[in-house]
Amino acid sequence: MLRTGPYTSQNMDTCYHLARRFLIKGHEVKMFLYEDGVFNVKKEIKSPQERNIAEMMAELLDAGAEIKACGTCARFRGVKKADILEGTKLGGMTVLVNYLNACDRFLSFGF
């Protein structure tokens, strides 16, 4: 679960570096984006001369990660379904509960 947004905090980068390695090792990776975390999958992110967080997210999706964002958090932050990367979805607390039920290791990154 990731609660912070892109660039502002290094959390997203830490998640990316860990997720990439877990996927290579053959683990399943699921990310639930909560609070400002929902901003990490905005497809319009443009980052000239810098790492592109949306592309890093897309890379994880391509490698098999499942990424869902809290719909309520998104609405409060003006993020719509049409704004987020293909392959990601908005969802409710059920998503988090399913992830918690399914996973062997849970990591939480906040403020």
């Binding site: 909560y34 918690l100 906040g110 403020f111």
Partner: protein, 119 residues
């Protein structure tokens, strides 16, 4: 059917300055409602969430004291970390009904949990 997973939610942030305690509440209610064995622990500045007499209406915000007071009715367990209360000079009697928990008890609870979420 498997045993429900045991999840501890550590609420470490003070109410109102950040949304953490409010967003933590949504997760606690959600997990409880969907049958997880949910234990919410107020620790560090999070203990402020349990202080009676909060009045955030001038800030245009909802009263977290009321929200957290309902948790037990929904089947979630709510604890307050007593060393965190003491460090802040807050008396248990000034708090909403919560179960006190000390370092050893919190440590033991963590050792029986499947997952820990921090707010």
């Amino acid at each position: 059917m498997n045993e429900p997973k045991k999840v501890i939610i550590l609420v470490r942030a003070a109410p109102y300055g950040m949304a953490s305690a409010a967003e933590g509440f949504r997760v606690i209610i959600g997990l409880t409602g969907m049958g997880l064995d949910t234990h919410a622990v107020l620790v560090d500045d999070g203990v402020l969430v349990s202080l009676k007499g909060q009045a955030p209406s001038d800030l245009g915000m909802h009263k977290l004291e009321d929200a957290y007071s309902q948790l037990q009715d929904f089947g979630a367990r709510l604890y307050v970390h007593t060393p965190s209360l003491e460090e802040r000079g807050i008396l248990e009697e000034d708090c909403i009904g919560v179960e006190p928990i000390d370092d050893d008890e919190l440590g033991n609870m963590i050792s029986t949990a499947d997952h820990i979420i921090t707010f």
